[in-house]
C-alpha cells in the first residue's frame, strides 16, 4: 500500500516560496534584467507566485515566460504517442537577461536539459539560474539547482506530488512511497 507523507502544507509552502523569492533577488544581482520562466505545468504557477513575491518586496515587475519542453524530450520514440504539447511563450527577448528557470520537482535532470536546449533556441541569456521547489535526488545528468525550496531523499518507487491551488485547489507537497508515476 502506498504511504503518503505531507512534506509541506499550505502555510509551510508559502514561507518556503517567500524564502526562495528572496534568494532569487539575492542571486540574480540587478533585478531589472531578470526573467522568470516556468516549466509547464506547475512550474508556470510557481514562477507566477515568485514574481508576485519579488514584486511585493522590490516594487519591480518581473517578466514571466512559460516553457513546454515536450518537443525537446530525448525519449519521444520510447514513450509512445504523447498527446499534449503545451504552450511556450517567452518575453520579447531573453538576450543578455538573467533567466530563472522555475520547476516544481527536480529529479533526473532531463527536463532541465531539455529546457536549456529550448532556451538556447530563443537567444543567449547572460545567465541561467535553476530554481526548484523540491529536489528529490536521483539525477541522471550533471545538473544542480541554484535555489531549492526543499530537499528530500527518494527512491525510484516514490512519487513527489506538488499541489498548487490554481490547478489542484490547494497548496502542498506530498511524498508518496511505493507508488511511482
Amino acid at each position: 500500500m502506498p504511504s503518503v507523507t505531507r512534506l509541506l502544507d499550505d502555510s509551510a509552502m508559502a514561507s518556503v516560496l517567500e524564502r526562495m523569492a528572496g534568494e532569487v533577488v539575492e542571486k540574480s544581482g540587478k533585478i531589472g534584467g531578470v526573467v522568470l520562466v516556468g516549466i509547464q505545468r506547475r512550474g508556470v504557477e510557481l514562477a507566477g507566485r515568485l514574481a508576485g513575491l519579488i514584486g511585493k518586496a522590490t516594487g519591480a515587475t518581473i517578466p514571466l515566460g512559460k516553457l513546454d519542453i515536450t518537443l525537446y524530450r530525448d525519449d519521444l520514440s520510447t514513450i509512445g504517442q504523447r498527446p499534449r504539447v503545451g504552450e511556450t511563450s517567452l518575453p520579447d527577448s531573453i538576450e543578455g537577461k538573467t533567466v530563472v528557470v522555475v520547476d516544481d520537482v527536480l529529479y533526473t535532470g532531463r527536463t532541465i536539459r531539455a529546457a536549456l536546449d529550448e532556451l538556447a533556441d530563443f537567444g543567449r541569456p547572460r545567465r541561467i539560474l535553476l530554481c526548484v521547489l523540491v529536489d528529490r535526488g536521483g539525477r541522471e545528468l550533471p545538473i544542480q539547482a541554484d535555489i531549492t525550496g526543499l530537499s528530500v531523499e527518494t527512491t525510484g518507487d516514490d512519487r513527489v506530488d506538488v499541489g498548487v491551488w490554481e490547478l489542484d485547489g490547494r497548496d502542498g507537497v506530498d511524498l508518496v512511497r511505493g507508488a511511482p508515476l
Binding site: 520510447t78 509512445g80 504523447r82 499534449r84 504539447v85 530563443f122
Partner: protein, 314 residues
Amino acid sequence: MTPPTLGKDLIGLEGLSADQIRLILDTAEPFKEVSERAIKKVPALRGKTIVNLFFEASTRTRISFEFAEKRLSADTVNVATTGSSVSKGETLVDTARNLEAMRIDMVVIRHPSSGAAQFLGDRIGSNVINAGDGKHEHPTQGLLDLLTLRDRFGRIEGLKVAICGDVLHSRVARSNIWGLLKLGAEVALCGPATLIPRELVELGVQIIPRIDDAMAWADALNVLRLQLERMQGGFIPSLREYNRVFGVTRERLERVAKDLVILHPGPMNRGVEIDSDVADGPNSVILPQVTNGVAVRMAVLYLLAGGAPEWQAS
C-alpha cells in the same frame, strides 16, 4: 479514460473518430507558435527519416509537408516520379520496400489512384501519411480546413459549411465531408449536377443546386478548384458559363450581406470558380489555411512518430 492516439498511418478522416480529429487539431495549436519563432525548429523528430513520395504534381502540399518535417528536425528525401525508378516501371510496393530497406521511418505519399496510401500502409511497417490519393481523400487538407474554421468560429459543431464546385473529382471534398460531419457540422454540396455525386447524400449531406442559395444558407463556403485537367468529359459547357452560374463573385457575396467565410484549397482558377475580389478580400481565409497546413502536418507527423515503426520494435 485513456487519451486517444492515432494508429500507424493516416489514410483518411473517414477512419478517424471525432476524438482523434480533435487530438490532431489541439496538437496543431502549439505548433503554430513554433513557426512564429526566430529559430523555427524543434528537435522532436531528430533522427527520423521521412520520404516524400509524390506520384502526382504538387507544390503547396509537398512544400508544406517538407516545412513541417524540417521544423521538427526530421531528415527528408523527396522522390518525384520523373527521374526515379518509377518511370522505369517499378511497382509502388517495390519502391516502398526498397525505401524501407534503407530504414526510413515515415512515407508521405501522393498518388493518382484512390486507395494507394492504404495499399502501401498495409504492406510496409513505416508510418504512411496520405497526401492525396486519387478521388479518395486528402486528410491533412481536411484537417487544416477544420483548424481554419475552428480558428475563425471557435467551434465546428453546428456550423453550416457548403462545399462548392467540382465535388466529383475532389478528395478534398471527401475529407472535408467526413471531418465536418464527425465534428457535428452541417454540410451542403453545391455545383453542376454532373459534378455532384448523388450518392454522397447517404453520408448525411444535403445538395443545394444554386450557388446563391448555398451562400445564403452557409456560414462558410469551401470553394473547390475546378479540375481543368479532368474537364474533357463534357461536365460543364464552358469556363465562362461555369463562372456565370457557379462562380463565387463579389456581387454574389454582397447580395448575401453577411460575414461569409471563404475557403479554397488551392491552386485557384481566378475568374472561374472564384473571383480575385473574393479570393483577396476580407472574407477569405485562404492564406491562413496555408499557414495552418504546416501546423496540422507537424501535429500529424509528431503524433504518428510517437509509435516506433515495426522494424525498430522487432
